[in-house]
Symmetry: C2
């Protein structure tokens, strides 16, 4: 029975074992069970105690697993639970903006219950007519990433030739659909037949290919883009970027969102064809979604009607239960997920 | 004695022996002497017959020495004279815009006399109060390259931190002076003590260093730019670019003018740190001067008064005589030139 001090319950957690070099393995994480009191402590001003529902598996998390302080991301702490963005239900709150029963999304722990003190990362969920898990994807950071990376960095125009790598992922599937809505010709690459089918049949890409079946990526791109590429939405890096550089058109734009093929490597692969930036006057620009937080309301105004009208679809790959979280996160770097990888901690 | 058909004279030429792989050697070129009639043939509409005075040695010429048709530059023809930009005097003309006695600059042959048929590359020289050789440099393509690459690609602002590689070269020395005139903090790298002295004492850079004496380019850049680099004017590529990527500031700009350290290599070095484009939102853009020909009059209006007032200086490295042209061009890739490398074929 619940007292005023809150019930003490068991709290399953995904613990980060130690810094990782090379390929991420499930054994770099382990499951443990501790306890938590379901009440924000009195001295914790503005704290929020939540029950976690959905956790987002994101490529950037691999960067936090390195013992490297020089990044824009601080490393995870060995022996502590992972953290990342997720959707949660408020059980108790000392924060004026959140009350018991509210649903929020933002940075939380990889565990059943979290005491969130860095509440500046939280957003209250107002629209619940959509799956709550969408706030880890299309209605969260991946959505804004796709929107800002495509519209703000690429300055796309109707009729342009757009190529997207990791195209069935959390961000890529949206970039492709935004580009189609604008009237672009869109081709995506992905790493399996199922993903390629998804791109062509579900997301409406004009074409798609399995990069693992292409011995010569340059030749593949020439087949799909005989007149070259205007916009490349870069999610993978390495060899694909080198092949794309050979196929860009004059005044082409490369939006560098991430380079997931590189994150498991100790030393990133070298990119050899940067000289091709010169004759074609190619504009290449990196970005973090955090540069574009101000666009979030505008983005939601655009995308929510599209979702409700069925003009934009979103595919998620939901792993059930915290026990499956290490496999889900590891699978992201092996390309095992089909669509946005989410972990469902609890459905309510 | 000159007849109506024009005198036939001997014509010394620098012949391109064969396609080059690896480091350019003087023996990849040879000197020969043919003959030429100093008259535009009757069937050569719009042709111009010139006496060459100054020839420009430019890094891009190395790219034309490869047997590779896929570039924006066609390869030189083995057994034929090299060609490139130069300053010449018109001896005979069937072109309405040029008459005997005019001085012109544009694409000509590496020989004493040339019959120019591709006259669309020519400019008439109006201002002769400056050394004529300047039309291979500050008043020609390198000048416009520096101007457009700095002002148009980098969007520089007063007080920004600017780094220039190959900084004493034809383009770099001007970018540095433009940046100083705008009120930027400017540091250059070069490959010898003499060049470093030139940067600091002649061109007014705030500081300069010899990259050959730095075992750790990243550490060197951190020494000169403790707060990071806003603008990098890229002339060299390879390891320097990798070190710069570690030191760029948020919203930094990299103008990719060329990558001279790579042109003698069969396979360009890999660049490993492109992921750093992402967190800092770095804008990297290549360009060719030909995208900016429309700015040429505006550029001349700016730079000619600066030259005459001594506010901008220009250092040339002039090799005397066609015999020394192969060594001059070869030296460019070994960094032997101090300032803009020119070949004086004839002083008048």
């Amino acid at each position: 029975m619940e007292s005023d001090d809150g019930e003490v319950v068991s709290n399953k957690q995904v613990i980060f074992k130690d810094y990782v070099s090379g390929a991420l393995k499930e054994s770099d994480m382990y499951i443990t069970t501790s306890t938590i009191r379901l009440k924000v402590p009195e001295d914790c001003t503005n704290g929020v105690l939540v029950k976690n529902l959905y956790l987002s598996c994101d490529p950037y998390m691999r960067i936090r697993m390195r013992n490297f302080q020089g990044s824009y991301l601080s490393p995870f702490k060995p022996g502590s639970p992972l953290s990342g963005r997720g959707v949660a239900k408020v059980l108790d709150s000392r924060h004026p903006d959140y009350k018991k029963g509210d649903f929020i999304w933002g940075i939380t722990g990889w565990e059943e219950y979290s005491l969130i003190t860095a509440t500046e990362t939280l957003f209250k969920i107002h629209d619940k007519d959509v799956p709550l898990s969408y706030y880890t994807g299309i209605l969260g950071m991946p959505g804004l990433t796709a929107y800002a990376g495509f519209y703000e960095i690429c300055s796309p125009k109707k009729g342009e030739f757009v190529f997207i790598s990791a195209a069935s992922g959390a961000v890529g599937q949206l970039v492709g659909q935004f580009a189609k809505l604008l009237g672009c010709y869109v081709v995506g690459s992905a790493g399996s037949k199922d993903k390629v089918d998804l791109l062509k049949n579900k997301f409406g890409f004009d074409d798609a290919f399995n990069y693992k079946e292409e011995l010569d990526l340059d030749a593949a791109l020439k087949r799909y883009f005989p007149d070259g590429i205007d916009i490349y939405f870069e999610n993978v890096g390495g060899k694909m970027l080198d092949a794309v550089l050979l196929n860009m058109r004059v005044h082409g734009r490369i939006s560098v969102c991430g380079m997931v093929s590189q994150y498991n490597l100790e030393q990133p692969e070298g990119v050899h064809n940067l000289m091709y930036l010169v004759p074609k006057r190619i504009h290449m620009e990196g970005f973090l979604v955090s540069y574009f937080f101000h666009l979030f309301p505008k983005y939601l105004d655009m995308v929510l009607p599209y979702i409700k009208q069925g003009k934009i679809v979103y595919v998620e790959d939901i792993a059930e239960g915290l026990e499956n979280a290490p496999a889900a996160l590891t699978g992201l770097f092996a390309g095992r997920n089909i669509g946005k990888q989410v972990v469902a901690v609890s459905r309510e």
